[in-house]
Symmetry: C2
DNA sequence: ATCTCTTCGTGGAACGTTACACGAGGGCCG
DNA sequence: CGGCCCTCGTGTAACGTTCCACGAAGAGAT
């Protein structure tokens, strides 16, 4: 199992020598290609084990396949992405493919471009782009070179596959839940739209639109309010401050991301408001933070692991050319009710 | 800037043709090696831009260098690791190196081995192993093949460099802080020791030893208590339950990791104990969770970003052979006091 | 003018793998 | 028994880069 003793790494030639066959033969069993007898397979297998041989990925890369797939992650801090990754890992576990994450500290467009290029340059066999900030045409361009799955954006293309969540459904669940509790004045914290990326259907667009629609459905269209202060702790804080110090503070806040909801907690604490007694709060994504006892946040679960698994499976289909038509997979979210939502204070 | 039009990717030969020089010349300017005139550099540079040439990393890999460094992460969910990564990214930003993360869903030893092999097989130029669970001898073995930096474990070796924190100092800060508040009965939540990994100096060992020493220093040796329920939310919950329902519940709990502290919150909530009024709680790592308003946890900050930057720098020194002796870098932690610690309830 | 250095460009042999073309042998059919 | 098709193993030419050895040309010293 161990490189017997030599300092250098065993190559296909060493294996061929040791087994007394040609390198082509070894290559064949390696890829389990057609035209190799059981006896041959046996001998080569033994020789490989003896020498502790592992194929040299760079050399393979020169001939086309590296058995590597890359995932681009905007931020490593968003726990939802961790769920996604678990799914991807699970789907890849029993394959020969290795998974590598690229995550530039920032989600700057330029950094992401650099990372994607780094992946392509390393001949990765497929890419999973999670909520990419690079422009859509850039992604289309990349996808023409290497199989690609985009997670999160609702802009399909014949060039790549999409995995998304039915965000509208999740929003309905939240709004219905709050209305059922007796709320009427529910504000929404959203993410500012970045211009010029050509993604028309980012999740926050869908969520915003669904929020307005749901409010209208309940006859509350004129109470609908959206603050675009961003999906981050700081953004949640600023947005909540703006809302809660306004002339008509809402009785409930629906944050488009859990991470923004944590900022709302901070704002509420500073203003002396208790959650859920004085203010109801709901998040989105059901990240692990939401489940922490002191947080205890009502949130929408997107089944991240399942989305990740789907993405990986779609990608493998493409890489192995079992499918050549682009596809969109949308999964259904559900609501996880915790302690941050309650009936509004008696007026 | 764009691949002019051809479907195939530009190679060094194309550039050479277009510039009317040899491939060797192009290679030289690529690596800015010795023996290339300014005029030549200029011409080649122009040709590269025109063709949108980017070197083919796999091919480079065959000749030794891939300009890729790999980071092994036990878990992507620990926010402390995100800080580390930011540091690594920062240090690598202006270099030609790309960073890829390997993170098997689980921290199983076998998964980690597989990942490390995947990195080595892909000819990565250097490895940063963050709190690896694979056995030490395995790491030594790997480090003989490719430059390696180990982060977290205090077991130095001539084979690899180490980046650690002076955990003892951090523990002293916590214990002194609690004693100053008036606490005497302070228990410690630790991580169970995994046998057979040959790491004798994992952070939890240091922290445990320092905890006992600090207690002794304050004349509280016989009140020292350690529960090995693990660094996880669930572990913190179980450990806290055990302690708080014992015949002599402590007035303060020092959790060896923030993630375990969140479990303590849950246990306290279930038992009707308020933090910090009835129970003081301190964590370790100062992860972003600790700073969240509803959590507001006193914790020890390890300057993760700085550690990451250091690790990257050490690795580059090794890769570029500017140093050949192993080194240990230890940074100093400091205490961040928040709202989870207070004087003990009047007895 | 001749000799020696330096500087700068070129040729070409690797690196480890894959995949195509080919050929040797055996079995089956007419 | 000749011809044909299968099966299974081999030889070899790439793939894109690096780097060593070499040579040509120019500068400076004698």
């Amino acid at each position: 199992m161990r490189p017997a003793s030599s300092s250098k790494r065993a190559t296909i030639t060493d294996v061929a020598h040791s087994a007394g066959v040609s390198t082509s033969a070894v290559s064949k069993v390696l890829r389990n290609a057609y035209g190799v007898s059981p006896a041959m397979r046996e001998r080569v297998q033994t020789a490989m084990d003896e020498l502790g041989y592992r194929p040299h990925a760079a050399a393979r890369g020169m001939r086309g396949r590296t058995y590597t797939i890359g995932v681009l992650l905007a931020s490593i801090r968003n726990a939802f992405y961790a769920d996604l990754l678990d799914g991807v890992n699970a789907a890849l576990r029993d394959t020969e493919y290795a998974l590598f994450l690229g995550s530039g500290g920032s989600s700057e467009r330029e950094d992401q471009t650099r990372l994607i290029h780094a992946m392509v340059d390393r001949q990765m066999d497929g890419l999973i782009l999670i909520a990419p900030t690079v422009s859509r045409s850039e992604v289309v361009h990349i996808a023409a070179e290497v199989p690609t799955v985009v997670v999160g954006h609702h802009d399909p293309s014949p060039a790549y596959d999409c995995v998304v969540n039915q965000d509208g459904v999740g929003v309905d669940l939240v709004v219905d839940h709050l209305v059922a509790l007796g709320h009427r004045d529910m504000a929404h914290l959203s993410h500012p739209t970045v211009r010029g990326t050509q993604w028309e259907q980012r999740p926050e667009h869908h969520v915003r639109a669904a929020y307005r629609a749901a409010m209208a459905r309940h006859g509350l269209a004129d109470l609908a309010r959206v603050v675009h202060s961003g999906y981050s702790d700081e953004g949640g804080y600023r947005g909540a401050m703006e809302l809660l110090t306004s002339t008509r503070p809402p009785t409930a806040i629906f944050a488009g991301a859990d991470v923004a909801a944590t900022g709302v907690f901070r704002a509420a604490a500073e203003l002396g408001l208790r959650i859920p007694d004085d203010l109801s709060l709901a998040g989105y994504n059901n990240t692990s933070v939401a489940a922490l006892a002191p947080v205890n946040l009502t949130s929408v679960d997107q089944a991240g692991a399942m989305m990740g698994e789907t993405a990986a499976r779609l990608l493998l289909e493409r890489i192995e050319k079992r499918r050549d038509r682009a596809v969109v997979m949308a999964s259904t979210p559900h609501l996880v009710v915790r302690g941050s939502t309650a009936p509004p204070p008696a007026a």
